[in-house]
């Protein structure tokens, strides 16, 4: 099937907008981290911070050059995969990050695999049988989970699964991971807590999106025509709700990269968010900047992907 040229132009446009936004974001990230109080050279030298030593270190680190010039060289490095050196550990930021990023992505991947099918199914089912006991149960559960702080979900999970039932270890890491069973046990708690938090959002937004399309005249027409409830929702309403649903899923998933700081803290899981918070307390600018860029890139990528799905699934957006 030939998707008309305009579709691809639109998709290209979205990509272009994403790139421009990324540029603005990198600009903002760079200068926001510059604004962090405290002089890096002084902090690094600590007790040995004589004025001469500070000046020397500033020159050596290139901190004397104009900010805009440093920004451009940082951007150039970013584009070629050179993230710079960490100020504190004297290691390449890329090396520091890669392990943590893998951890974060692994956790995010598992949660995505668990959550997305369940959340979509529940959201669509709740919309399909609106007002039924299933719908009410799902609504009450999602509102409760959304209204409750994340650390409560996490501590509750610890209380139930580790303290009362004694099924799982309370801390996910520090446990030696030898077999598949061990790995499952180590990941279970963070995955359970995150799944609750993430899928609640997804279910709510999916339900709202499907209900919105069900309320349109053409779906009502399908019902009048004699289509069954299932057919009406799955064949007539769902394709048009795909765009908003993709958006909802993208928003929820973007949370899994940077928003998991509490779960990482409670379960002592070494991910990127924790790395960034540690980096802030040591004023490790290159590391902070790279972490911030990772969060923004993942958010933008997911949002752009959702936009493209919306464009490809909805002919009306292509005119």
């Amino acid at each position: 099937m030939l998707r008309s040229a305009t579709t691809w132009i639109l998709v290209g446009q979205r990509l272009g907008i994403a790139l421009i936004t990324l540029l603005i974001v990198s600009f903002a990230v760079f200068f926001a981290t510059e604004l962090l109080p405290g002089d890096v050279a002084e902090i690094l030298l600590g007790q040995a911070a004589t004025p001469e030593a500070v000046a020397g270190l500033r020159t050596a680190m290139g901190l004397d050059e104009p900010a805009i010039w440093r920004f451009l060289s940082w951007l150039g490095g970013l584009a070629t995969g050179d993230l710079g050196m960490s100020y504190v550990n004297k290691m390449a930021v890329a090396d520091l990050l890669s392990g943590r990023l893998m951890n974060t992505l692994r956790l995010a991947g598992i949660v995505t695999l668990v959550c997305v099918p369940v959340a979509l199914a529940l959201g669509i089912a709740a919309a399909m049988w609106r007002g039924s006991w299933l719908d009410r149960l799902v609504s009450v559960l999602t509102i409760s989970v959304i209204s409750v702080p994340e650390f409560m979900v996490a501590t509750l999970a610890v209380l139930v699964f580790a303290v009362w039932l004694d099924w799982l270890p309370a801390l996910s890491f520090g446990v030696d991971v030898d077999s598949l069973g061990d790995m499952l046990r180590a990941y279970a708690m963070p995955v359970i807590s995150l799944s609750f938090v993430v899928s609640a959002q997804m279910i709510r937004m999916t339900r709202a999106a499907v209900i919105e399309t069900i309320n349109t005249p053409y779906v009502e027409m399908a019902l009048l025509k004699g289509a069954s409830r299932t057919r009406m929702v799955l064949r007539h309403a769902l394709p048009n709700a795909l765009g908003p649903i993709a958006n909802a899923v993208a928003l929820s998933l973007s949370y899994l990269v940077g928003g998991v700081i509490i779960v990482e803290t409670v379960f002592n899981y070494p991910g990127v968010a924790k790395l960034m918070v540690d980096a802030v307390s040591t004023r490790d600018l290159p590391l902070i900047q790279s972490c911030a860029m990772i969060f923004c890139i993942s958010y933008l990528a997911l949002i752009t992907l959702a936009d493209m799905i919306a464009i490809l699934s909805n002919p009306r957006l292509r005119r």
């Binding site: 936004t21 209204s147 702080p149 501590t155 700081i261 802030v280 923004c296 958010y299 949002i303």
Partner: protein, 282 residues
């Protein structure tokens, strides 16, 4: 003037709340009252160690048990109400005032100003809220004014986006065109023509944002970066007593219940607002 004379009570305007909305409202008012009269009803000074036992159970002397230092949890929750609701309220008002004002301006001015502002705030929204808060607080230290401003900055873009979307719709309506043709100034169009027509949904949005801010504030305090000891908001109370979790101590359970009761009831109240208030612009 007329607004002050005719108090818009729900009954007089024909708005009715269902039971879920009423329960929500009742709990909100309860916490508001506690926040105001807290110091006079707290049974013990919140900072004093009054129990010889730590993580004490519920008793007639200490209704909600005692914490890890033997302080009375009921008194500490009552005092924590002020921090949690006060900070969240100040932050949400700041965020919504700024966001709504910018949103209306962007909708009316349009053009490159609108595009630029929207893009910028969208990009800012891409930074995870809690992480942004952690970074700011870790960088400049935690004090109550800083917490308020940081929380407001986190939720301003969302409020902006919401208000702008509403204002764009209102902006195209005939009465706004008429006002323009009449030669009304920019300020008049924004404040007298557009603002009253987006007020209902904006207030509903403010309620939901309040919930988010309470949650993020509790999260910050839970991580030890929010309200600093010896003061404590509800999140900090959970953090202080987290060791009591494995003992099933009431000291960790009641602050959690306090947070959940406030956020769930605000959600319930907003969800059950009469549609006339929520969707006024539609």
């Amino acid at each position: 003037m007329s607004l002050a004379l005719r108090l818009p009570t729900p009954a007089r305007l024909g708005y009715s709340f269902n039971w879920a909305g009423r329960i929500g409202l009742a709990v909100i008012l309860f916490w508001a009252a506690i926040a105001i009269i807290g110091p006079w009803i707290a049974p013990y000074p919140p900072g004093d160690m009054v129990d010889f036992d730590y993580f004490g159970p519920m008793s007639s002397q200490f209704w909600m048990g005692s914490d890890y230092l033997g302080r009375d949890i009921l008194s500490r929750i009552i005092m924590g109400t002020r921090y949690t609701t006060g900070i969240a309220l100040a932050a949400v008002i700041l965020a919504c005032a700024g966001g709504v004002l910018l949103g209306m301006i962007a909708a009316v001015v349009g053009g490159w100003f609108d595009t630029l502002l929207s893009r910028f705030l969208d990009a800012f929204n891409g930074i995870p809220h809690l992480l942004f808060g952690l970074v700011v607080v870790a960088a400049v230290g935690s004090s109550i004014p800083i917490l308020i401003v940081t929380l407001a900055a986190m939720y301003l873009p969302g409020s902006y986006r919401f208000a702008r979307a509403l204002a764009v719709n209102v902006n195209t309506m005939d009465f706004v065109t008429v006002a323009r043709a009449r030669g009304e100034g920019f300020g008049h169009i924004i404040l007298r023509e557009i603002f009253p027509n987006i007020l209902g949904p904006v207030l509903a949005d403010l309620g939901l944002r309040f919930v988010f801010i309470v949650l993020v504030l509790s999260g910050l305090s839970f991580l030890g970066l929010g309200v600093q000891p010896p003061n404590a908001d509800w999140g900090a109370l959970v953090r202080e007593n987290i060791e009591g979790l494995s003992l099933g101590a009431p000291a960790v359970i009641f602050p959690s219940i306090a947070i959940a009761s406030l956020t769930i009831s605000v959600n319930m109240f907003i969800d059950n607002l009469p549609t006339r208030i929520r969707d006024r612009s539609e």
